[in-house]
Symmetry: C2
Subunit: 156 residues, 2 copies
DNA sequence: TAGAGATAGTTGACGATTGAACTAAACAGC
DNA sequence: GCTGTTTAGTTCAATCGTCAACTATCTCTA
């Protein structure tokens, strides 16, 4: 956002789309989070961390890699990983190649939590978002928020 | 989500779109909230309440109308309106037609806060979302999340 | 090879959101 | 017109996220 930016207001269609987006995402995240908590006892943020760790070679990632991958603050990652560690889903260990670094390592128990949670979560993502959109519309969603994410990438 | 739902996993394109959406919205909301706080001293949630009140006839709405319009919990609306009241942006008064009800009424000061905040906020919404999407793609976003919002409407 | 600055991560205090329990008023059926 | 049930809103405690301060390590340059 800089001083040369002078665009104003949204037209009424744009405003309707923007408000649909606000309302839809608010309800969607609330529902996904609640469903995960009720069925598997983990939050959406915790779930996403487990997913990233499960995909990583050796099932471990640096804290900063988790932070940038999820677009969460470092502090938030510290707190969330601490909760996951208390729940036995993750272990922390020093990073061998960088004395400042910390690796979060998925445990077998963490993998079981993920395997337990994933089907219901994916069903929910499908049922409330993916499958209510046409393939072309869902692609458009990916394009739009990919562009937004790039624009707001960490160095911006 | 019901028992007959058996769809599984997302294909790799769908997963890429879903993650772009997660990352894009996370960054977008974080940025919009921070920009509003820095430039105008209000949160995004507070801003949205001021907008709804400013559009309402008589510049007032019931608490429950705010809650369903923003898809926020009643408890959250109570807290947020309390903060706005402390900031002098809103006044609460008993609802004349329903003894249980409470009206949130926008003050002149609240209207000034909104007028001050709105241009920068709209520029940000444009700059980080609306204008990075083609018109057709942004329409698709509206369609998709409109459908999600309907599906997850309060009685679901 | 100092020393300055940048980077990684944690901590603690504070603010915001949630969910459950609660009060009070409205409504429905008899 | 009671009585039981819904609905509106608030309150409290607990959880989660943010921000600023802090330690430790790494990197760059002279």
């Amino acid at each position: 956002m800089n001083d040369t930016m002078t665009a104003r207001w949204l037209d009424s269609d744009q405003q309707a789309h923007w408000r649909a987006f606000l309302s839809g995402t608010t309800r969607l995240f609330e529902r996904l989070d609640r469903q995960l908590r009720e069925r598997s006892g983990i939050s959406l943020a915790e779930y996403e961390i487990l997913v990233r760790l499960s995909e990583a070679p050796g099932q471990h990632l640096r804290m900063a890699e988790l932070a940038s991958s999820l677009a969460h603050s470092r502090s938030r990652i510290t707190h969330t990983v601490a909760r996951l560690e208390a729940a036995g889903a993750v272990i922390r260990q020093a990073c061998p190649s960088d004395g400042r670094g910390v690796l979060a390592l998925l445990t077998d128990g963490g993998m079981r939590m993920l395997v337990d949670a994933a089907p219901g979560h994916v069903d929910a993502v499908r049922g409330y978002l993916v499958d209510v959109a046409s393939p072309a519309d869902f692609e458009a969603v990916g394009r739009v928020f990919g562009a937004t994410a790039d624009l707001l990438a960490d160095d911006s």
